[in-house]
């Protein structure tokens, strides 16, 4: 049973899923609520451990990708007897070993993908500009690079709705003119960057940072 109505925000906050307003509200809250702060610290430890050791912890995880409650799997299993399935498995393994050994002698060296330590799960992307207030509509969005081969997806939001998103390998992006025209003076927007490995795995998410375009003087 929850002790505090803000307790439900803990995971969303730690996973950087809260909007700026909700984030600020929750941050002020945990300065005033020992219960939420203690629970958040415990949860943060858990998340950090999972991100740091996840590959090792979950390497033996059964196929959790499959949707539970499927009946077609039962139908497939019923096609052969267990003994027949065992024979198929052993034969397939032997064939795979033979083929793999043959391929090893032929295959060229694999391309080396290095993601440096900063890009390991849990690394933080720092957004550089624009932040807080700008005098004109920003032409360029820039963030700190995270590793050698990471790919970045930038999102620009208007009140929680995604206004624009784009993927790039650089640590900056130039805003297209047609998007610039949609940003208005006096208004607040927010933006966020997510980093992906070359294999497409999500490796880091920045905080959502708000910026305001001041009225021209």
């Amino acid at each position: 049973m929850r002790n505090c109505k803000f307790e439900g925000n803990i995971d969303e906050y730690l996973m950087n899923r809260l909007t700026d307003d909700k984030k600020n509200e929750f941050e002020e809250h945990y300065f005033n609520c020992s219960s939420c702060f203690e629970k958040m610290v415990e949860r943060d430890e858990l998340i950090t451990a999972i991100k740091y050791k996840g590959q090792e912890i979950f390497k033996d995880e059964p196929a959790t990708e499959a949707v539970k409650g499927e009946t077609s799997w039962g139908k497939i299993m019923a096609f052969l007897t267990p003994k027949q399935w065992a024979t198929v498995a052993v034969s397939a393994t032997l064939i795979a070993v033979l083929v793999f050994s043959g391929l090893l002698m032929l295959k060229p060296p694999s391309p080396q993908f290095f993601i440096n330590e900063d890009a390991v799960r849990g690394g933080k992307i720092t957004l550089i500009s624009p932040i807080f207030e700008v005098q004109t509509v920003p032409s360029q969005f820039e963030w700190q690079r995270l590793g050698e081969n990471a790919e970045y997806r930038i999102y620009i939001y208007d009140n929680g709705d995604t206004l624009w998103q784009k993927t790039t390998k650089d640590n900056f992006i130039v805003l297209p003119e047609n998007i610039k025209k949609t940003l208005a003076s006096g208004e607040k927007y927010s933006w966020q960057v997510k980093a992906f490995s070359p294999e497409g795995a999500l490796i880091s998410v920045s905080s959502r940072v708000q910026f305001k375009i001041n009225h021209p003087e």
Partner: protein, 169 residues
């Protein structure tokens, strides 16, 4: 009587320091990144500033003490980020080197928690895998497991309680 009141006030400041230092540190690290080497300095500066302001009587009770400290913390973080973003535009940022002792302690803690997670019932390990490692939303996890989103939250919370018990043993 003045001496007694002075002692009481001193005790309060110590309690405030003890209570809010960890909260300020957490907030700073969350904003600046755990491995930012300036985190400890910024956190120390903030809490020192808070104590000085309290001694000068700048807290008038218009808000809670927590909100007072939160405001000072947020402002300092904003100042730091503003200065840092100006510097970063022109100068490449040097590599950040985390405190090796803190790193060892955090790694050991992570190892302990990881060991406990491996011993969890697969039902609970599965939800941690999907929710925190794969970073699926509560609704996506619910759909994959064929349970309600509320049940997902219950399993996550219960996993936490189980892990706490296992680690204490």
């Amino acid at each position: 009587m003045n001496a007694a009141m002075g002692n009481e006030k001193k005790l309060d400041l110590e309690q405030i320091y003890v209570k809010y230092r960890s909260i300020v540190c957490f907030r700073v690290k969350k904003s600046l990144g755990v491995y930012n080497p300036d985190c400890d300095d910024i956190a120390n500066e903030i809490i020192t500033n808070v104590i000085e302001k309290l001694k000068r009587g700048e807290f008038r009770g218009e808000s809670s003490i927590g909100t007072f400290i939160y405001t000072i913390t947020s402002r300092r973080i904003i100042d730091y980020i503003r200065k840092k973003s100006k510097v970063l535009k022109h100068v490449p940022e040097p590599a950040s080197y985390p405190d090796p002792h803190e790193q060892v302690e955090n790694k050991e803690r992570a190892e302990t928690i990881a060991g406990a997670i491996k011993r969890l019932n697969p039902k609970y390990r599965e939800v941690l895998y999907l929710y925190y490692y794969k970073e699926l939303s509560r609704e996506e996890v619910a759909q994959k497991l064929g349970i309600s989103p509320r049940r997902v939250s219950e399993r996550v919370n219960y996993s936490q309680k189980l892990l706490k018990k296992m680690i204490r043993k």
